[in-house]
Subunit: 224 residues, 2 copies
């Protein structure tokens, strides 16, 4: 129930969005960071993000901020979690609604805007010191990403239209940062009902031809 | 990245919390609603909730509002989703950070406070018309609750310390609103790694003694 608004009791916080964009490059899990060109934390790296405008939805704000600061467009963003510790920003109370995305492109065309001086993917194992509580947000996001591999199709953004289970296992191993048992992986992934067999085989190259699969859906779905 | 705050461009919204508290009573899935005693939507039922205070965390606000409006305390709340459509509240822009909980008590001791006139559990199949966009929030929460049964221990709040797989299946069937195949249910739930067998049997009553289980954790965990 929403009570009548009494400004003396309930100071309005600012509301921001921040985006965790993960990708795989050169066999490594990476995350997009931007370098701040304004105080506070000027010069420090942070997640792309910024304040929500009065007339835009949260989803729209996340897409806009990601585009403005890094040049990245056409990426599916999923809301992750809202961080609201009263002291998380030194200026004023700022509540951050965070979004997560996972994607792969051959050329991201990264382009930093006016209020950030650089935009760059960093290996998750080798991050610089981040502004605000973005280190905490990053750790939360990475854990949720790893967890979601088990029961969602979140990896679809990292695979081509058609792929083998070996391709898929490679992506899982990179994100989870550990080797998986081939038999268990296949058994588990095929019980999730997320994949559809294409009933044909890859040409194989140096290997035996392997069965090809695709994700049934290309938006986030959860297993039953 | 959080830019410098410019009030002319970024009007501060109000931030509220709203709580979806589900329970099972008399074999039915129910949700807690409160009846509004103030405009807008005076007299309409809604989710318990209200504005976040300047110095409190979002979690703390959700616990406080639930307690103030319904008398419910000592319930584990998990953040669900943040709703931020610019027009979702007729007064001003209000962003709602929603929380979900699932619990069972023999006596909830419901007690409505000053700005709500009643607090009551309603069967999810028979809800009154709700205030604001709470119907949409309810549908989102119910879907997520059903989905989470598959890969989290979210049902722990509805079961006693020790239970049989038959007890557990009954809870799942009520929440999912459908009958489950006993063999499939057992197979699936035992692969999730959420339960621990107690290595002993129930006394059984009219039935054959059945193996007793407990949840490994009593906070929300996700399966690997």
């Amino acid at each position: 129930m929403l009570k009548g608004y009494d400004a003396s009791k309930y100071d309005r916080p600012s509301v921001a969005v921040d985006v965790l964009l993960f990708t795989i490059e050169a066999g490594e899990l990476k995350i997009l960071l931007v370098q701040r060109n304004e105080e506070p934390f000027k010069g420090r790296w942070s997640l792309p993000g910024g304040f929500v405008k009065a007339d835009e939805s949260l989803d729209r704000a996340a897409i806009r901020e990601l585009g403005e600061e890094s040049g990245v467009e056409n990426i599916y963003l999923e809301q992750l979690y809202t961080f609201g510790d009263p002291k998380r920003d030194p200026r004023t109370r700022v509540i951050s609604v965070t979004y997560m995305a996972l994607g792969a492109k051959t050329d991201w065309g990264l382009k930093a805007s006016g209020d950030v001086s650089a935009a760059k993917f960093f290996s998750v194992d080798n991050l610089p010191k981040l502004a605000f509580d973005h280190q905490q947000i990053f750790h939360y996001g990475l854990e949720r990403l790893r967890s979601k591999l088990g029961y969602t199709n979140i990896a679809f953004g990292l695979l081509p239209e058609q792929f083998t289970l070996t391709d898929l296992q490679k992506v899982y191993e990179i994100i989870l940062n550990k080797q998986l048992d081939k038999r268990n992986f296949r058994k588990k992934i095929l019980t999730t009902d997320l994949l559809r067999s294409l009933g044909k085989k890859s040409s194989g190259g140096a290997h035996r031809p392997a069965e090809l699969y695709r994700f049934k859906k290309k938006e986030i779905v959860y297993t039953d």
